[in-house]
C-alpha cells in the first residue's frame, strides 16, 4: 500500500512532466502534443483512478479470497462436523434403535413385571389382611408402572413438541436459507460489483482476459460454492432441525430415561420394599408359627400335665371313693356289730343270769361299734369334703383341658393359616423376586439407555456445536459475502468512476483522436522509438517491476529521484528527439489504450460472463454443497485463482504503474523537452490544464 | 301235655338208675334167701322196698307203666309177705325173684323199644300169694312168731309209734322187772297204744306199741331188762332236744331211719337255698356276656348239670318227705266209725291207693278238710239203712276214699253212694238269699260255689240236714291255701263225689316270673294253660270287661295291675297268662315275662299281708321277696266279682261283691 501511495504521491509529478513533455514534444504538433499531453494527463488520471479501483477490487478480492478461505475452512469444519454429525446421527440412530430395543425389552419386561405384579397382587390378595402391606406395595408398584407409562406418554408428547420445535427450526432455517439467498444475491451484487470491477478491469488491457478467465473460473467455482453452501445450508438446516429434534427428543428421552430410571428405581425400591415386607412377613409368619408352635408345645405340655393331674386327681378321687367304700364297709360293719351286739344282748337277756357276762361283752362290743361308727362318720365327712374338692378339681381340670384342647385347636388352625400365609408370602416373594430381577434388568437397560442417551446427547451437543460453528461460519460467510458485496459495491463504484474515467478517457481519446492521429503518426514515427520505448518501458517496467519492491524500499530514494528529476528533465529537454520517440510511444500508448478499450469491452463482456458465472455460482454452490469436499478443493483452487487474480491485479498494477511510469516518463520526456525548449517545457503544466 | 314226654329226656338216667336199683333189689333178695325160714331182716326188706319204690317212681315218671305197675305189685306183695317176724318161704322168694326178673324185662323192653312183656300172670301170682289188707286180716289166727299188727283203732296221736318186745325171764322177775314194770317204763316215754302177749318158741313174749312222746327216747339201759326195740334216729346224749316234731314215719324196718320233719324241713330249706343260689348263678351267667366262650360254655354246661342234679336232689329230698296217704286214711277210719255210730248208719269204708305218697306237710294239712268231707258224707250223704233199702240200695252204705297220683299232683276222691245233693233245695236257698236269679239253675260248679259261699251252710245248719255244706267254705279255703282245688260231682239219688286235687309238694315249684306294674311276681307253672302275646289294640272292651277273640270265642281278660291297684304302664303289647279251667279260661294281663324259674315257696300267712290272689312269696336269691300269684284264686275272685256285678244288677239289696283284701286267716296250726 505504501508502495502504491508512494507511487501515487510521486506519480503526479512524473505524469505531469510526461504530459508536459508530451505536449512539448510536438511543436508542430505542439497543440496535438498538448492535447495529447492533456489526454495523457487525463489518461494518467484515469489510470490512476483505475489503479485505485483495481486496488480496491484487489483488496475486495483479497478479502473475498480470505473469506473464501475462511468459508472453506468453515466448510471444512462444517464438513467435519457434518461427518461427525452423520456418524453421531448414525450412532444416535443406533442408540435410538438400541434405545428402542431397550425400550421394547423394557416394555416386555414391564409387561412381565406387570403380570408378575398382578400375580403377586393375586397371591397377596389371598393372603388378605395379614399381607395388606404387600398389597399396598404392589399397588404402589402399579402406580409406579402407571407413572412410567405416563412418562412414556410424556416422552411422546415431548417428541411432538420437539417436532413442532423442529418445524420452528425449519422456519428459522428457511430464513437462514433466505439470508443465504441474500448472500447469493449479495454474491450477485458481488457479481455485479465484479462486473463493474471487471468492467473497470476491462479497461485494463491484457490482464483483463486473464482476470475474466479467472473470474469465470471463479464464477463457476463460486457457483459450486454457492450450491454447496446452499446444500450445506439445507443440510445444515436439516441437520440443525434434526439435531434440534434429536436434541429435544434425546433430551426428552434423557428426561424420560431419567424419569424411567427414577421410576425404575422407585419400582426397584418398591420391589425391594415389597421383598422386605415379604421377608418381614415371612419372618413374622415364621416367628408367629414358631411362637404358635411353642405355644402348641406349651399347650401339649399343659394338656399332658393336665391329663396327668386329672388322672392324679381322678386317682385321688378313686382312692377317696375306695376309702369311702371302705368307710361305708366299716360303717356297715359297725352297724352290723351294733346289731349283733343288740341281738346278743337280747339273747343274753333271754338267758337270764347265765347271759349276764355275755351281756357285758355285748355292751362293750356295742360301745366299740358305736365309737367306730362315729369315727367312720367323721372319716366319711372328710372324704365327702375331699371328694367334692376332687370333683371340683376334676371338673376344673376337665375345663382347663377342654380350654387347652380348644386353644390347641385354635393354635393349630393358626399354624395352618400361617402356613397358608407363608405359602402365599413365599409365592409373593417369588413374584417380588421376579419383579426385582425384572426391575434390575430394566434398570440395567435404562442405564444402558441413559448411557446411549448420554452418548447421543454428547453427539447432539457436538452436532449442535458443529451446527453452531456452521452457523457461525455461515454468519462469517454472510459477513464475508457482505464484505464481498461492499467490495463489489466499491468495485462497482470504482467501475462507475472507471466508466467516468473511461468516458473521460474516451473523451480524451476522442479529443485526442486527432491528436492521436497525429500522435499516431508521431507514434508511427516514433514507433521504433516507441517500440524501443516500449521495450525500454518494458525493460523499465521490468526494471520498475524489479525495482518496484526496491521502490518501496527506496521510497525515500524516490524523492531523490524526483529531485533528480529536474536534472533529468533538463537533460530530457536536451533530448528533443527522444520526443518523437515519445510521440510514437504516445501513439503506441494510444493504441494500447485502444487495445485497452477493446480489452475493457472484452472485460465487460468477460465480467458479464463473470457475472453470469457468478450467478451460476449460486447454482454451482448446490453442487458444491453436495460435494462438500469439493468446496475445500474449489476454495483452494479459488484461493489459488484469487492469488492469480491478485497476481494479475498486481500485474495490472504494475502495468498501470508502468503506464504511469510511461506517462511520467512521457511527462519527464516532455519536461526534458520543455527544458530544452523551455516553452515547451513551460506549457507542460498548461497541457494538463488544457 | 305229656309229663312222660317231659321226662323222656331223662330216659338214659332212668336206665342207669334202674340198673342200680335192680341190682340192689337182687342183692336184697339174695340176702333174704340166705335167711330162708326165718323172719326177714327188716333192714333188708326196707332196702328191697326202697329199691322197688324208686323203680316204681322212676318208671312212672318216664311212662313205663308196666314196670311201674309190676314194681308196685311187688312192693305190695313184699309188704304183705315179709312182715316183721314172718318167716320167709321158698315160694315167696321164688315169686319175688321171678317178679324182679320180669321187672327188668319190662324196663329192657322200653330200652329196646320192644313190646313190653305180659305182666298180668305175675300180678295175679303176686296178689294171690299176698295176704289181704291188714285191716281185714287182722283177726286171723295169730301166728306164734308174727308180731301183731297195730290195732286198727290205735291212734298214734302226735307221737311216733314204736314197737317194743319184752321177753320175761325168771331172773328178770326176781329183779322185779315184770310186764307191769315194763308197761310203766314205756308209759314214761309215751302213750301205750297196745300190748299183746305172744307165744314164742320156749316161752312167751309181749309186744308193746307205744306212741313215743316227742323228745322222749327209751332208755338204753332197758335193753338189759329183756326189752328190745329198734332204734330210731340216733339221738346223741346231750344234744338239745329237737324242736317240737310233728310226726315221723311209721316204720318198722331195721334200716329205716325215723327222721324228724323239722330236720327234713331244714334239708329242704338248704336245697331250696341251693336252688335259689343256682338261679342266681343262672342270672349271673346270663348277664356276663364278656367271658370267653369256652369258659362260658363250660360254666353253662356245669350249671345245667348242676340244675339236673339239684332237681334230682330236690326230688330225692322231696321223696323223703313223701309219706303214704294211707296214714291219713287210717285216721279217717275212726272218724267214719264215730260218725256212723252217731248217726246210726252203716258205712263200709273202702280205702284205695293208700300207698300213694304225698308231702308230709300236705298230709297233715289235708286231714282237716278230708275229715269234714268224710263226716259230711256219712252224716248227710249216706242214707239211713231203711231208707237205703227203700231205695233199693244195700243197707250198708259205701264210702270210698281213693288216692291217685296224677303227675305231680295227687287226687283224693271222697265218694259215697248216698242220696246226692238236692240241687233244687240248694237253688231255693240260694234264691232266698239272693245268690241266684229266679230263672237260673245251678251247674255243678255254681252249685259248689253256692255251697261254699261264706256262711251259706253255717247259718242255716238246722235246715240242711238233707243238704251238704257244713263248713264247706272252710274246706275249700283250706284246700286252696294248699294250692289245691275242690270239685263236686253229684248224682241225685246216686251219690256224691268230692274231688280234692293237691300238689305233691308245696316247697319248690316251677314258676313263670312276670312283671306287673313294675313289680315282679311269680306264677306257678302248673296253673298256666297258655301264654299269649297280644297287642293292646287287639283288646276289646266288652261290658265292663276286656276280652280278646281267642280260639273262636272270647277270652275274658283280667288286668293284674288293676286288680292289685298297681300303676299300669300301658305298654303297646302285653302278655296274657291263660289260666282257669278249659271251660272257663281267663287271660291275666301282665306287662312282660321275665322267665321260668324254680322258686321256693314261702307261705304268707300273717293277716297283715294275707291277700287273696297271692298264695305266698319267694326269695329269688337277691334278698328281695317276690309274691306268688294264686292263679286259681284270681280267676275265682274275678268270677265272683263278675257274678257279684251280675247280682248287683239283679237285686239292689245284695251284699257288695267280695273284694280283694286280707283273706281269712289260716286255720290255727
Amino acid at each position: 500500500m505504501a508502495f502504491w501511495t508512494r507511487d501515487r504521491d510521486r506519480q503526479p509529478d512524473g505524469s505531469g512532466e510526461a504530459g508536459r513533455g508530451n505536449g512539448a514534444n510536438g511543436s508542430a504538433r505542439v497543440a496535438p502534443a498538448a492535447d495529447a499531453m492533456r489526454a495523457a494527463a487525463a489518461l494518467w488520471e484515469g489510470s490512476e483512478a483505475q489503479r485505485r479501483l483495481v486496488e480496491g477490487g484487489l483488496t475486495g478480492a483479497n478479502e473475498c479470497a480470505q473469506s473464501l478461505r475462511q468459508t472453506a475452512t468453515q466448510a471444512e469444519s462444517v464438513a467435519t462436523s457434518s461427518e461427525e454429525l452423520a456418524s453421531s446421527a448414525n450412532e444416535l440412530a443406533a442408540s435410538i434403535e438400541e434405545m428402542t430395543a431397550t425400550a421394547t425389552g423394557l416394555a416386555s419386561s414391564i409387561a412381565e413385571t406387570s403380570s408378575a405384579v398382578e400375580e403377586t397382587s393375586r397371591s397377596i390378595g389371598a393372603v388378605a389382611s395379614t399381607a395388606a402391606d404387600m398389597t399396598a406395595a404392589a399397588a404402589t408398584v402399579a402406580g409406579g408402572v402407571t407413572e412410567m407409562a405416563a412418562s412414556i406418554k410424556s416422552v411422546t408428547a415431548d417428541t411432538e413438541n420437539l417436532a413442532s420445535s423442529v418445524t420452528q427450526i425449519a422456519a428459522a432455517m428457511e430464513e437462514t436459507s433466505r439470508s443465504i439467498d441474500g448472500v447469493r444475491t449479495n454474491s450477485d451484487d458481488l457479481a455485479a460489483v465484479a462486473e463493474q470491477t471487471s468492467r473497470s478491469i476491462a479497461s485494463m488491457a491484457t490482464a483483463t482476459e486473464q482476470v475474466a478467465a479467472s473470474a469465470e473460473n471463479m464464477s463457476g467455482l463460486a457457483e459450486q460454492v454457492a450450491t454447496a453452501v446452499e446444500e450445506t445450508s439445507r443440510s445444515v438446516e436439516g441437520v440443525a432441525r434434526n439435531a434440534e429434534v434429536i436434541t429435544r427428543s434425546v433430551e426428552s428421552a434423557a428426561t424420560s430415561a431419567t424419569e424411567l430410571d427414577r421410576s425404575m428405581r422407585g419400582v426397584a425400591a418398591l420391589a425391594g420394599e415389597a421383598n422386605d415386607i415379604s421377608r418381614r412377613t415371612t419372618r413374622d409368619a415364621e416367628e408367629g408359627a414358631t411362637a404358635i408352635q411353642r405355644s402348641l408345645d406349651g399347650l401339649d405340655r399343659i394338656r399332658s400335665s393336665m391329663a396327668e393331674s386329672a388322672s392324679v386327681v381322678k386317682e385321688v378321687g378313686k382312692r377317696a371313693g375306695e376309702i369311702s367304700t371302705i368307710v361305708d364297709t366299716i360303717n356297715l360293719i359297725a352297724e352290723r356289730t351294733n346289731l349283733l351286739s343288740l341281738n346278743a344282748s337280747i339273747e343274753a337277756a333271754r338267758a337270764g343270769d347265765a347271759g349276764r357276762g355275755f351281756a357285758v361283752v355285748a355292751e362293750e362290743i356295742r360301745n366299740l361299734a358305736d365309737r367306730s361308727a362315729k369315727a367312720t362318720a367323721d372319716i366319711a365327712a372328710i372324704i365327702t369334703a375331699l371328694q367334692s374338692v376332687v370333683q371340683d378339681a376334676v371338673s376344673s381340670t376337665a375345663e382347663g383341658r377342654r380350654l387347652a384342647d380348644d386353644s390347641g385347636r385354635v393354635a393349630a388352625e393358626g399354624v395352618a393359616g400361617l402356613k397358608r400365609i407363608l405359602t402365599g408370602v413365599e409365592q409373593s416373594s417369588a413374584k417380588v423376586g421376579q419383579i426385582t430381577r425384572a426391575t434390575e434388568e430394566q434398570l440395567a437397560a435404562t442405564q444402558g439407555l441413559a448411557t446411549v442417551i448420554t452418548t447421543a446427547t454428547t453427539q447432539i451437543r457436538q452436532i449442535s456445536g458443529a451446527t453452531a460453528e456452521q452457523a457461525a461460519a455461515l454468519q462469517g460467510l454472510v459477513r464475508v459475502t457482505g464484505q464481498m458485496r461492499g467490495a463489489a459495491r466499491e468495485v462497482s463504484e470504482a467501475m462507475g468512476a472507471q466508466e467516468q474515467s473511461a468516458r473521460e478517457i474516451t473523451k480524451a481519446a476522442q479529443s485526442g483522436a486527432t491528436l492521436a492521429g497525429q500522435v499516431r503518426r508521431a507514434m508511427a514515427e516514433q514507433a521504433t522509438a516507441a517500440l524501443q520505448v516500449s521495450q525500454g518501458v518494458e525493460s523499465l517496467r521490468r526494471g520498475a517491476a524489479s525495482t518496484s519492491r526496491a521502490l518501496a524500499e527506496q521510497s525515500a530514494a524516490a524523492d531523490l529521484i524526483a529531485r533528480e528529476a529536474d536534472g533529468f528533465r533538463r537533460r530530457s529537454a536536451s533530448v528533443s528527439t527522444a520526443m518523437s520517440e515519445q510521440a510514437t510511444a504516445v501513439s503506441q500508448i494510444a493504441r494500447a489504450t485502444e487495445d485497452m478499450r477493446r480489452q475493457s469491452e472484452q472485460t465487460s463482456k468477460g465480467l458479464a460472463e463473470q457475472a453470469r458465472a457468478a450467478s451460476d455460482i449460486g447454482a454451482a454452490t448446490h453442487n458444491v454443497a453436495k460435494q462438500i469436499a469439493l468446496i475445500t478443493r474449489a476454495n483452494r483452487e479459488q484461493s489459488e485463482t484469487a492469488g492469480t487474480t491478485l497476481e494479475t491485479f498486481a500485474e495490472l498494477q504494475r502495468l498501470g504503474e508502468r503506464a504511469a511510469q510511461q506517462v511520467r516518463d512521457a511527462g519527464l520526456l516532455r519536461a526534458l523537452g520543455d527544458r530544452a525548449r523551455p516553452n515547451v517545457a513551460a506549457p507542460g503544466g498548461p497541457a494538463s490544464r488544457g | 301235655m305229656s309229663e312222660g314226654g317231659f321226662f323222656e329226656q331223662f330216659i338214659d338216667e332212668y336206665f342207669a338208675e334202674c340198673d342200680e336199683h335192680l341190682a340192689a333189689a337182687r342183692h336184697a333178695l339174695l340176702d333174704l334167701e340166705s335167711a330162708l325160714g326165718r323172719p326177714a331182716a327188716p333192714g333188708v326188706v326196707q332196702e328191697l322196698l326202697r329199691s322197688l319204690h324208686t323203680l316204681k317212681g322212676l318208671s312212672g315218671m318216664v311212662g313205663v307203666s308196666s314196670a311201674e305197675r309190676l314194681a308196685h305189685a311187688i312192693e305190695e306183695s313184699i309188704r304183705a309177705r315179709l312182715r316183721p317176724g314172718v318167716d320167709t318161704t321158698a315160694a315167696t322168694m321164688d315169686t319175688l325173684f321171678a317178679s324182679v326178673d320180669l321187672l327188668e324185662r319190662c324196663i329192657l323192653a322200653r330200652r329196646t323199644e320192644g313190646a313190653p312183656p305180659d305182666i298180668a300172670p305175675m300180678l295175679d301170682r303176686l296178689a294171690a300169694g299176698a295176704p289181704g289188707p291188714a285191716a281185714e286180716r287182722e283177726p286171723a289166727a295169730p301166728t306164734p312168731d308174727a308180731a301183731p299188727p297195730l290195732p286198727p283203732d290205735a291212734d298214734a296221736g302226735d307221737g311216733i309209734v314204736q314197737h317194743f318186745e319184752f321177753v320175761p325171764t325168771r331172773e328178770l322177775t326176781e329183779r322185779g322187772v315184770g310186764v307191769d314194770a315194763i308197761r310203766a317204763r314205756l308209759r314214761s316215754i309215751g302213750e301205750l297204744l297196745d300190748a299183746k302177749p305172744r307165744v314164742v318158741a320156749g316161752g312167751i313174749s309181749f309186744d308193746f306199741w307205744v306212741s313215743v312222746a316227742p323228745g322222749k327216747v327209751p332208755d338204753e339201759a332197758w335193753r338189759a331188762d329183756g326189752l328190745s326195740w329198734i332204734a330210731l334216729a340216733p339221738a346223741p346224749a346231750g344234744e338239745p332236744a329237737p324242736a317240737p316234731a310233728s310226726q315221723a314215719f311209721v316204720t318198722t324196718g331195721a334200716n329205716v331211719v325215723r327222721v324228724d320233719l323239722g330236720r327234713l324241713d331244714g334239708v329242704m330249706r338248704l336245697v331250696a337255698d341251693l336252688v335259689v343260689s343256682r338261679s342266681r348263678l343262672d342270672d349271673l351267667l346270663r348277664q356276663d356276656g364278656a367271658r370267653s366262650t369256652a369258659t362260658r360254655d363250660a360254666l353253662e354246661e356245669n350249671n345245667a348239670l348242676m340244675q339236673r342234679q339239684l332237681r334230682r336232689l330236690r326230688e330225692a329230698v322231696m321223696r323223703i318227705r313223701l309219706v303214704p296217704v294211707g296214714e291219713v286214711f287210717e285216721r279217717l277210719r275212726f272218724a267214719v266209725r264215730d260218725a256212723a255210730r252217731e248217726s246210726g248208719k252203716r258205712v263200709n269204708l273202702q280205702l284205695r291207693g293208700q300207698n300213694t305218697e304225698i308231702d308230709k306237710l300236705l298230709v297233715d294239712r289235708m286231714l282237716e278238710p278230708l275229715l269234714h268231707l268224710v263226716r259230711n258224707a256219712v252224716s248227710h250223704g249216706i242214707e239211713h239203712p231203711d231208707a237205703r233199702v227203700a231205695r233199693g240200695k244195700p243197707p250198708e252204705g259205701t264210702l270210698t276214699l281213693r288216692a291217685t297220683a296224677v303227675g305231680d299232683r295227687i287226687r283224693v276222691d271222697v265218694e259215697d253212694d248216698g242220696a246226692g245233693i238236692d240241687v233244687a233245695r240248694v237253688e231255693a236257698r240260694a234264691r232266698a238269699r239272693g245268690l241266684l236269679a229266679a230263672n237260673e239253675s245251678l251247674g255243678a260248679e255254681a252249685l259248689l260255689d253256692v255251697l261254699c259261699a261264706s256262711g251259706f251252710s253255717t247259718r242255716d245248719e238246722a235246715d240242711l240236714t238233707s243238704g251238704r255244706g257244713v263248713g264247706m267254705d272252710v274246706v275249700r279255703s283250706t284246700i286252696r291255701s294248699l294250692a289245691g282245688e275242690l270239685s263236686l260231682f253229684s248224682t241225685p239219688g246216686g251219690g256224691t263225689r268230692f274231688v280234692v286235687e293237691l300238689p305233691l309238694t308245696l316247697m319248690i315249684v316251677d314258676a313263670l316270673l312276670v312283671e306287673v306294674g313294675g313289680q315282679q311276681m311269680a306264677v306257678p307253672q302248673p296253673a298256666l294253660r297258655e301264654i299269649v302275646k297280644v297287642e293292646r289294640s287287639q283288646i276289646v272292651p266288652f261290658e265292663n270287661n276286656d276280652v280278646i277273640p281267642w280260639r273262636g270265642g272270647m277270652l275274658p281278660l283280667l288286668s293284674l295291675a288293676r286288680l292289685f291297684q298297681l300303676p299300669d304302664p300301658r305298654l303297646p303289647s302285653v302278655h296274657l297268662l291263660v289260666v282257669g279251667t278249659e271251660a272257663a279260661p281267663m287271660g291275666l294281663v301282665v306287662d312282660r315275662l321275665l322267665g321260668l324259674r324254680e322258686i321256693v315257696v314261702h307261705p304268707v300267712v300273717d293277716p297283715l299281708v294275707a291277700v287273696e290272689g297271692i298264695s305266698g312269696a319267694t326269695e329269688l336269691g337277691d334278698g328281695r321277696v317276690s309274691l306268688i300269684l294264686d292263679a286259681t284264686a284270681i280267676v275265682r275272685l274275678a268270677q265272683e266279682e263278675r257274678t257279684a256285678r251280675a247280682w248287683s244288677g239283679a237285686s239292689a239289696n245284695v251284699a257288695p261283691p267280695p273284694r280283694v283284701g286280707p283273706a281269712a286267716p289260716p286255720l290255727p296250726s
Binding site: 352297724e335 | 291297684q565 314261702h602 293277716p607 326269695e619 334278698g623 328281695r624 281269712a664 286267716p665
Partner: protein, 168 residues
C-alpha cells in the same frame, strides 16, 4: 350302767321320728337291717310289704306310718325289729335301734290321761332316763289290737268290708 335290779326287764331302745321308744327284749326275736320290702297289693297302707327273715317271709310294718308319721327313708341305721307274739312274727321298721337297757317296773310311769286313742292302746307307760323320755311300747298289744284297729279304722270309712278277718 345296767342295774340288774330285781323286777327289772331288759328293753331295746329305738328311735322313731325323734322320740325314743322302749320295747321289751323278750318280745324281740332279733334285729335286722332293713332291706327292700316287697309291697303287697291291697294290704294296709302302713304295711311296707313282706321281707324275708331267716327263711321266713313276714310282713314289715312301717311303724312311722303306723304311728301316723311319714314313711321316711330307710338307711343303714334303719332297723327291722322282728317281734314274735301270739304265734305271729312281724317286722317293725324303726329309724334306728342302737341301745339296750334295763328298766325297772317301778320306773315305768302310767300313761297320762291325755294320751288316748290309737297310740294310747299300745303305750304301756313312760320312763325317764336322764333327759330322755322313753315311751314303753307293748308289743303284743300293738299287734293284737291290729285287727280291731283295722276294723275301727275301717268302720269309719267303709260300711261293710266283706273280709272275715276274724280268726276262727
Amino acid at each position: 350302767m345296767t342295774t340288774h335290779a330285781a323286777g327289772s326287764e331288759s328293753y331295746v331302745l329305738f328311735e322313731l321320728a325323734g322320740a325314743t321308744y322302749a320295747l321289751r327284749s323278750d318280745d324281740i326275736l332279733q334285729l335286722e337291717m332293713v332291706g327292700e320290702p316287697t309291697p303287697v297289693p291291697n294290704a294296709p297302707s302302713w304295711v311296707a310289704g313282706v321281707v324275708s327273715v331267716r327263711g321266713q317271709v313276714i310282713p314289715a310294718v312301717s311303724l312311722r306310718e303306723r304311728f301316723g308319721f311319714e314313711r321316711g327313708r330307710w338307711d343303714l341305721r334303719s332297723r327291722l325289729l322282728v317281734v314274735r307274739t301270739g304265734g305271729r312274727t312281724v317286722g317293725l321298721i324303726v329309724d334306728s335301734a342302737r341301745a339296750f337297757a334295763r328298766i325297772a317296773a317301778e320306773e315305768i310311769l302310767p300313761v297320762p290321761e291325755g294320751v288316748a286313742g290309737l297310740s294310747g292302746r299300745y303305750l304301756r307307760g313312760i320312763a325317764q332316763r336322764g333327759e330322755r323320755l322313753l315311751l314303753v311300747i307293748d308289743v303284743p298289744e300293738l299287734l293284737i289290737t291290729e285287727a280291731s284297729a283295722e276294723e275301727s279304722a275301717a268302720e269309719g270309712e267303709s260300711p261293710a268290708p266283706a273280709s272275715a278277718a276274724t280268726p276262727s
